[in-house]
């Protein structure tokens, strides 16, 4: 049970978002620009993977599963592959640039000051641009917020991972802003 009476039975971040619509709007708009906007040289799959990885470092079950399912949907990868990235991305087949960006994201998860000059140079050596480095830092920072919002209020999350896989195609299609919070809430 959530720490406060959210006045709804919605899963994960949807619960507090329905409880507080005035903050839900910018929270969703931020996710939309960061993770879905097509004016970006990082693919939607790569951006969702950064969010998934940070959520796994923060041990946030809801976020790592819904964003992991979205990453899998965009990258046409199964959950075993997403899990392998979370566990040890260095040993996976993702690009060297994405590996360097995940290293930056992991540093941000620990604390902003943990991001070293070396980590930035490494990303640049694989072709990462200023905007890609910026977006990686902000995605990682944003998930440190979303994860804390979801777990700090002890929101309810379905334990069956298939729930998230089933939901991903629809979330990918509708995005983070133009959807009804109450629609299709339980599989």
């Amino acid at each position: 049970m959530a720490h406060i009476d959210l006045k709804n039975e919605l899963p994960g971040i949807r619960g507090p978002m329905a409880f507080s619509p005035s903050t839900a709007k910018p929270l969703n708009a931020l996710a939309e620009v960061l993770l879905r906007d097509d004016d970006n040289t990082l693919t939607r799959g790569e951006r969702e993977l950064i969010g998934t990885y940070v959520s796994s470092l923060n041990d946030c079950f809801f976020c790592q599963n819904i964003h992991g399912a979205l990453a899998g949907h965009y990258l046409q990868a199964d959950m075993a592959y997403i899990d392998a990235v979370k566990k040890d991305y260095v040993s996976t087949t993702i690009s060297d640039k994405l590996k360097a960006l995940l290293a930056i994201a992991a540093a941000v998860q620990k604390g902003g000051k943990s991001v070293s000059e070396e980590a930035i140079s490494q990303a640049r050596s694989f072709g990462a641009t200023d905007k890609e480095i910026h977006d990686t830092v902000l995605i990682a920072a944003a998930f440190c917020m979303y994860n804390r919002y979801v777990d700090g209020l002890a929101t309810w999350a379905p334990s069956d991972r298939q729930f998230y896989i089933d939901r991903a195609p629809r979330r990918a299609e509708e995005g983070y802003i133009d959807f009804d919070l109450y629609k299709n809430t339980v599989s």
């Binding site: 540093a107 000051k113 910026h134 994860n147």
Partner: protein
């Protein structure tokens, strides 16, 4: 020097939202809604929670600017801001705010750190669900801002006078996206 090429001489978060206004716009709207929107907590109390979390994250820019805003908003009780940042246990804050600051401190570590006991203490002190929600989301949001500002090594002024000016602007005008100079 910042990790990416931002406009020179512009400090902290402002340099970053000018670099990427598409995301900056929503970050400013979020903090405006949270720290200036309708609430049973005062603007001063909400700024103090922001400063406290930034202090715990070691983010000097956010801590100094939000502490300055809180001092402006507290009016004749400015010392309270420094007392809370120095030692929450001994600071003379009311029971509700103390319990909310404790929850914010837990969220700063991790969302999972917030215990049923923390929530019970807040309720016993008289905190409402809306106030607990705000404390959690302010702490979560500053866990973002602190990482964003320091993760890109943005310019952090050292002169306290610069923060006094910022704090006054934040207290009087709230959070308005800075305009790009042509």
């Amino acid at each position: 020097m910042a990790h990416i090429e931002v406009a020179e001489g512009i400090p902290g978060i402002r340099s970053l939202v000018l670099f990427r206004p598409e995301t900056g716009e929503h970050l400013y709207k979020l903090v405006q809604a949270l720290l200036r929107g309708p609430s049973s907590l005062t603007e001063a109390e909400r700024e103090l929670i922001a400063a406290y979390v930034s202090h715990r994250n070691g983010c000097s820019f956010c801590m100094n600017s939000h502490a300055a805003a809180a001092r402006c908003l507290y009016g004749n009780k400015t010392a309270l801001v420094d007392e809370v940042l120095e030692d929450l246990q001994r600071a003379p804050v009311n029971a509700v705010l103390r319990s909310l600051l404790r929850i914010a401190g837990k969220v700063q570590v991790s969302g999972r750190e917030v215990s049923q006991e923390d929530i019970d203490d807040a309720r016993h002190a008289g905190a409402t669900d809306g106030e607990i929600h705000e404390a959690v989301l302010i702490a979560a949001t500053f866990s973002l801002f602190n990482r964003y500002v320091d993760g890109l090594a943005s310019l952090t002024p050292e002169d306290p006078a610069e923060y006094a000016v910022m704090g006054k602007r934040m207290a009087e005008n709230g959070y308005v996206l800075p305009a790009k100079k042509s």
